[in-house]
């Protein structure tokens, strides 16, 4: 559109504008719409009430993830009804669905990339705030509400105002034992839960470039925890190597065309951002959240901080923590490795490498929930499940599981977790539950030691 230098986010935006009119939001085309059972039933009802159809079922994909049980047993009838509603809606409107029991089923933000559907340059939406995950491929991907889900189903477009641009540059080598989860936790601890509000973040710099696709997904996943509209990383050879050969990735001559196009997406050298943040990777450490939002996070080497405001006081009271307590002295009751943040094969391999030949501390509950049934199968082919079981971890089926308290995997009131998920909000993992956000490495080591620690501490 414009000859001016553009950022990655602006380039993707520009090529999706269906209609632009003075004083109105841009009408943006959606390339891929992901649907799950919780935020869609009212949208399908809306379509029925107004006699509308789904414009592009072939750009829509549904799965069951939020309230699926991850273990065989009796099922909550209300959850079953919601999953059945999704099944009926997908039948009626011709949408491809991965239901429970299907090898394609999994967390919506794990299966899109796994299938090769998540590609650079796309606009991807889903009625889920962690849609930002897909930005790891250089897609503009963001969460929407149910009214907007209905809008996309009916029109394959969304009226949107162009967000601001924000560069977060992380340069340098990560210290030993510091991973992608620590990059994003350390960032949110610095800029806060509203630090990215109104902006699409582009993660840049040598540290980001050196991350695997799984690591990049972990970083982009938690963009929303910094309040950002979306998080993106320019596609590069790491991206292309991940995509090549996946079922829905282009092939043959199409692959060549796609590569040429994808390489043109990177932010122009002289483009400017509305906001810029720089982080020195050497300053990052393993992190553990102590409070009730992801910004309330400190280094594992630190202590529970003195409260500086009423919110911190309330958080400490809820978490049952005393200021000055070394983080390493806090003892969780449960360790959860899973969620759309950290349930991919590399996360499981990392955990297995630490757990190999070790056992979970007596009295501690530990579970690993793969992000998709295909991740589960791959892990089993690699023998990781044997390592987990031998260590005393439960090995489950795919789903959102203990990341959010809407399936049977929950914390009891007062129970404390070390969790690789993304939110430590009050009650997030079950009413009265106390969540500490950590990396898979810290989670695995903590399960062995019984208190927060790194693998090096073992």
């Amino acid at each position: 559109m414009s000859k001016e230098p553009r950022t990655l986010a602006q380039k993707v935006w520009d090529r999706h504008v269906v209609r632009r009119a003075e004083g109105e939001p841009d009408l943006l085309y959606v390339d891929l719409h992901l649907v799950h059972e919780v935020t869609s039933p009212q949208a399908f009802d809306g379509l029925r009430m107004s006699g509308r159809r789904v414009r592009r079922p072939d750009l829509t994909l549904a799965t069951m993830d939020h309230n699926v049980p991850t273990i065989a047993g009796p099922q909550d009838p209300v959850s079953v009804a919601q999953m059945e509603a999704l099944r009926r809606n997908c039948d009626e409107f011709g949408i491809r669905l991965f239901p429970t029991g299907d090898i394609g089923q999994g967390i919506v933000h794990v299966i899109g990339p796994q299938m090769g559907l998540t590609q650079p340059g796309l606009v991807i939406v889903c009625g889920d705030s962690h849609t930002s995950t897909h930005g790891a491929f250089g897609a503009l991907a963001f969460g929407i509400g149910t009214s907007e889900v209905e809008h996309v189903l009916a029109t394959q477009t969304l009226p949107q105002r162009e967000p601001g641009t924000m560069s977060i540059r992380v340069d340098g080598d990560l210290p030993h034992g510091v991973g992608a989860k620590d990059v994003i936790l350390g960032l949110i601890a610095r800029i806060g839960t509203h630090g990215g509000a109104g902006h699409v973040v582009e993660y840049r710099g040598s540290t980001i470039r050196s991350l695997s696709m799984e690591g990049r997904m972990t970083v982009c996943n938690m963009s929303i925890e910094a309040g950002a509209r979306a998080g993106m990383i320019a596609p590069d050879d790491t991206t292309f190597a991940y995509l090549e050969g996946r079922p829905h990735a282009p092939s043959g001559l199409d692959w060549e065309h796609a590569l040429e196009d994808w390489r043109s997406l990177a932010t122009d050298p002289d483009a400017t951002f509305d906001r810029e943040v720089k982080i020195d990777a050497s300053e990052l450490t393993p992190y553990v959240s102590w409070g009730t939002n992801p910004g309330q996070t400190v280094s594992i080497d630190d202590v529970v901080p003195e409260p500086t405001d009423e919110a911190a006081e309330r958080a400490l009271a809820y978490m049952g923590l005393e200021p000055g307590t070394p983080i390493r002295e806090i003892r969780p009751d449960t360790v959860f490795i899973g969620s759309c943040t950290n349930s991919r094969i590399t996360d499981l391999r990392e955990a297995a490498a630490i757990l190999h030949g070790r056992t979970v501390r007596k009295g501690l509950r530990a579970m690993i929930v793969p992000g998709s049934m295909l991740v589960k199968r791959q892990a089993e082919e690699e023998g990781l499940d044997d390592v987990f079981r031998a260590a005393g971890f439960e090995w489950r089926d795919a789903g959102c599981s203990m990341c959010l308290g809407m399936n049977p995997d929950q914390l009891a009131p007062g129970e404390r977790s070390a969790s690789t998920s993304n939110r430590n909000f009050e009650g997030r993992q079950g009413k009265g539950g106390r969540t500490h956000l950590v990396s898979p490495a810290v989670a695995a080591a903590t399960a062995v030691a019984g208190h927060f620690c790194t693998p090096e501490d073992l």
């Binding site: 009408l27 085309y29 039933p41 590609q119 809008h151 509203h194 199409d254 009650g427």
Partner: protein, 196 residues
């Protein structure tokens, strides 16, 4: 959605920052497949405390929520807006909203009003002093008034027009179906589809 023009009502002060949508409505109540009936579960865990501000008799019947910084962060669940609306709220006033929550509000017809932190503080003090204080929110003139206080707020003209008229924005978009069709016809053939 019902049109929003002017609203006069009592307000309840929820003086907390970073109130996430998990607090507004916990996940366990998201299993319902209807759009209504979420009001009883609004702020569910906090409401078990008899001293929680929404439980205080003076604020019964309040239709305006005065909230802290970064209200509605976290999960995209529109159920949070449905719960506020079902409880009887028509306006939320805060120094800042999380982006998805603000979007969801405008789709449902719950008016998100952003005012400077000190103005929100003064409004909270007014209703803390006298819970019967009435606040007027006029969308047409983008003005909030209370005894001894006048403030204006920003909202883009398009969203304001949709709210004033109670418009169905899917209907608005479908007026541009030709443009959507033209755009679709020009998309690269190698772009992915979800078909097998």
């Amino acid at each position: 959605m019902q049109p929003f023009t002017t609203h006069i009502g009592k307000a309840v002060p929820l003086d907390r920052a970073d109130v996430d949508t998990d607090q507004i409505i916990p996940a366990e109540y998201l299993k319902r497949i209807e759009r209504t009936g979420f009001g009883p579960f609004l702020f569910d865990s906090w409401r078990s405390d008899p001293d929680f501000v929404l439980n205080r008799p003076g604020y019964a019947g309040a239709t305006i929520l005065l909230a802290g910084l970064n209200f509605g962060s976290g999960s995209s669940r529109e159920h949070a807006v449905w719960a506020l609306e079902d409880h009887g709220f028509r306006v939320v006033i805060s120094p800042s909203f999380a982006d998805i929550f603000r979007n969801n509000c405008t789709k449902v017809g719950l008016l998100p009003v952003e005012l400077p932190a000190d103005t929100v503080r003064r409004l909270m003090d007014l209703v803390l002093d006298d819970p019967a204080t009435e606040i007027t929110v006029d969308l047409d003139s983008k003005r909030v008034s209370a005894p001894g206080l006048e403030a204006t707020f920003e909202i883009d003209d398009f969203t304001r027009w949709c709210l004033l008229e109670g418009l169905d924005d899917i209907g608005l978009t479908l007026r541009h179906e030709d443009a959507i069709g033209t755009f679709e016809a020009a998309r690269s053939p190698w772009l992915p589809t979800t078909a097998r």
